[in-house]
Point group: D2
Chain length 338, copies 4
């Protein structure tokens, strides 16, 4: 989907030329920086990759959301039971990344009493990195790659071209749309017979496959895959332990998922991927792999406990991010329905 606000007739006329130039640039960049697009085994390094959805694409794997996926998901709803997968946002919650959450309500009504009906009203005031605190969807404007001349994001969009003080003019979370699709829960903690995987545990493709086999399920393109590590049990119980490290997927598991064309990877930890990283010189490689290379979204800090307790491994997954113009992510309360 193109950003309609800034697209003119001129833009449309020259799009084929621009597309050609972008591809040519990608080729040149590939040669110059040693990138091998399409080679999933390439180690993460300073590079970017062209999108499979065309040179103008800003939505990435959200393009896999179709009416058919809605109907496929819908058939999974048999009981009408709804699970809230979002955490409560509150002051005192863990804030990995040095972020903030300041919510204040004036105790004297924000709008003082008026009229014979004596109406009063309160508003809350929030200051927060709203798309990057608590339960959060990382969008495609969140993470990029520093190259020689600029920072590159999904589909080769460059920081110098889209970053403004009021929000990014490309890849903003308002482009994403709605996730209404089949959801899969992979309870790795259970399959590995622990309450909680230890911090630093690298979840492998084998771990994920074992969960699938156990549940008799296969991942299909466009699915949302939620991975339970048990780490979420530390939330608001031992916040220090929650943020200092985490179990999570490694690069191999990330490739296992991207090859199967998922749309969103969610987890009950704060970064989806294992911390500290497998290669200490390459922090957060799974973020780059998913967000920059594949346009796959990450949904962090989920509450998967009730779903896991009920052993609900296949369900309708529904999440409609806030349409925050130019934002890097969105808070939310995603749901699973069975």
């Amino acid at each position: 989907m193109t950003n309609t606000r800034i697209e003119s007739a001129w833009d449309r006329h020259w799009r084929p030329v621009r597309t050609f130039c972008l591809i040519a640039a990608a080729v040149v960049a590939t040669i110059a920086f040693g990138d091998q697009p399409g080679n999933d085994e390439t180690p993460i390094g300073p590079k970017w990759w062209p999108s499979e959805w065309g040179a103008d694409d800003q939505r990435g794997a959200a393009n896999r959301m179709t009416a058919d996926k809605v109907l496929e998901a819908n058939k999974l709803i048999r009981e009408g039971k709804v699970y809230q997968l979002g955490r409560v946002y509150e002051e005192g919650m863990p804030l990995p990344g040095g972020r903030h959450f300041v919510l204040t309500i004036p105790g004297s009504p924000t709008h003082p009493a008026q009229g014979k009906n004596g109406i009063v009203a309160f508003d809350e005031l929030l200051t927060a990195e709203i798309g990057q605190v608590g339960t959060q969807l990382d969008g495609l404007a969140h993470v990029g790659v520093r190259m020689k001349d600029d920072d590159y994001f999904y589909n080769g969009f460059k920081r110098s071209e889209f970053a403004t003080a009021k929000g990014h003019t490309k890849l903003g979370i308002e482009n994403v749309g709605v996730f209404y699709t089949r959801g899969i829960l992979l309870d790795v903690a259970r399959i590995r017979k622990v309450d909680r995987l230890p911090g630093g545990y690298v979840i492998t493709a084998n771990d994920l496959q074992a969960c699938l086999d156990d549940a008799g399920l296969k991942i299909r393109p466009g699915d949302v895959v939620l991975i339970r590590t048990g780490h979420g049990q530390l939330w608001m119980k031992d916040n220090k332990a929650f943020v200092e490290n985490e179990p999570g997927i490694g690069m191999q598991a990330a490739q296992f998922l991207s090859r199967q064309k998922v749309t969103v990877i969610g987890s009950d930890n704060w970064a989806i991927e294992v911390v500290p990283p497998e290669d200490k010189d390459r922090p957060f490689p799974v973020h780059q792999w998913n967000l920059v290379r594949h346009g796959i979204y990450l949904l962090e800090i989920m509450d998967l406990e009730e779903l896991a307790k009920d052993k609900v491994y296949e369900f309708a997954f529904i999440f409609s991010p806030l349409r925050l113009k130019g934002a890097t992510g969105s808070p939310g309360n995603p749901i699973a329905v069975k």
Copy 2:
């Protein structure tokens, strides 16, 4: 649902006593302040009303959300087409009520380049009355009634008992849960054969009934009713006109809807109800009627244009508010699915 954080064994033990006392207090208050609970025709005035869901209830009409409503809604999904009903949040949007929306992204990455993979990351910083700007769900902690000794909210919860600087300890939006139910669109502008109802137009029960008759539909308990006035077409086109007044329901239409036990009333204007009000000495009476008396939620500043254009009058309505602890409302991007 009780607020589990502050409920102790002691509370549970004394709850029946407390419930009795609250009811007694309600009776006394009723006598003292001349309230006639249960009489829907009573003019709005400084009073409060006990909840039909018990003295501890903090969820109001959200109690009407059941598995049956999910299944009923689900049957309305035949094509898998999803409509986004939330507006884009952006600086420059109309902010009725003197509110703020300040979103900033540091253009130098919030998290500077690190590692051989050269990862960079951006966060946005938002300051806003987050539950009361743009598309917004008014919760039960938003509006109250000034009485002699205190401000009273839904179910008689009093400001002096729940208002803290960090959020309300009662009626916060985190108590609401998820709306997954049957949705009805009443396109009053269309039925009255105008593009846009003029500011100050009082929508009546007759207007609503005419829409229902035209579509061959009946409202059922637990439904969400969305009312299209056409006023939303002014959004980001003529912001001054958008905020200075609006067409909306009057008290009679509000009673028509509450009698039919709806859960949420939504609209494409900014206050659901007509502005200026029918009785100039009683501003925003429909807010009190719904939020304080009936626990019915209001969903303001919706984008109903595409739904109306496609003449989708019955659909699955899904909205999962942010679980902002102690907040008065929630932003969101509700969806209709057909």
Copy 3:
């Protein structure tokens, strides 16, 4: 000084009556609550005291600022050397009281390049309890006393009468004016022959008198008295130790200073007074003693190291608080000039 914004001709006409009523109310309150105004030895408790500057006064000890004090201070300037007594405000500084300091600069210019001169401009965005973080002057709207019916502040102004969501309509820091007066440094750490008084050390009137005697100085009405404990050396060195307790004046030393009619008490700690308090059931009594009873301002988290090293015990003290309407305090960079 009255709040000119809300004073009408009607107000002026009735002011004598109002003054009489306020005094009568004070007498009644005094009888009802057992207060003994004028008795400096009264233990701090839930009470308030009428101001010595009249029933309308909102400035307290700032009334002691006169042209004569300016000239008196001015004579102390002989070398023209200026000492900055304010700390640097920065993220990561200690924030006693659970406060926040979030400063962000968009790295892409807030105001993008324009014109042939290629002008760019940056703004910073700050969210903070601006009057109550870092070096800060506590104003008269900061601290009050909970009584049966309301919270009472300096001069009997009541919360229910002045607290609004946009700031206090009485006692706001914009009423204070400028402090340009004689300053006295009492280096208690030095006189007690330690680098730093330990947390919990109660500074007594004897400690203060010993400093005065050593320097051959006397306190005069309207002076600003700065008390060095050495605690400030922990700032940004051991922030945990800085906030967990502190040496500071006790009630006896507070009375010693208020009897001598000082205008401001400053210190290098974060609350002026000893923490934990002398009476564990009465937290922060010196705040009430000074702010509520005497209208004496408190200037916290000062940098007194260089002044102490140079043994400058008498100087011109100049501080001009931000005129933040309705705020409880002001940040600042007060100076001493010798």
Copy 4:
């Protein structure tokens, strides 16, 4: 003054080399971009200029603040009368540049009642572009010049080298120190016999000289010069007119002042300089001239009415900016004392 936090022994060792390189770079840049340093008549364009205080300097004209200037200013204090030159900060004030000012006080005490003394306390929460709203000192990190490869600021410091999400690591307002110096008021409105110069009026060197002649004064190096246009009378009276344009100095008057080596130029308008600009293709050239080329500070939105009414044209000027680390400016309440 160097930024001590990031200066190492290594830095000190190599500073002469670095200085040489910077000067060499400046020469190259001068040749490449056609700049003629030292030629005051050069039209403003995309260029930068080396500082007269050395390649490491971050303070600019604040280097002119000396003990001698303090003593010179001090002799001007004869009556002890203090004038507050700062405006009140309040919601609803004009905010040129699309900025924000959101101040909220929770009406329920931020710190609830505790202890037998029933202490309560309030904090305010502010969100604002704190250094760029209301009365404000523009620092050297505020305005720069877009050149081919980067944005250049005072003394050639480059955006890519100092801009971080948490504030600028060079030229932050915390480097400025205190202004205690001789102040001069030039009442151009009075000398031109109008209440208020019209928006767009270009103040010339002749206008300024006429004021000086009338008062029998000469500007000396290190002085602060305040220019009264009368535009400040619109503040909070006609905010729309206040921001839409303004009378102010043109480039010729700016050169007249920089040649006389002033430290700060202040005014009762919002940009010091005339708006719209003399050359419509070069917006805010006086900002670049002063901040980027000469390191002269700008003090905007002052209240000069009382000073002008009393015809106080020579006085002690004192202003101590907030030490906000990495900020582009500072709010304040500067004072004049006679």
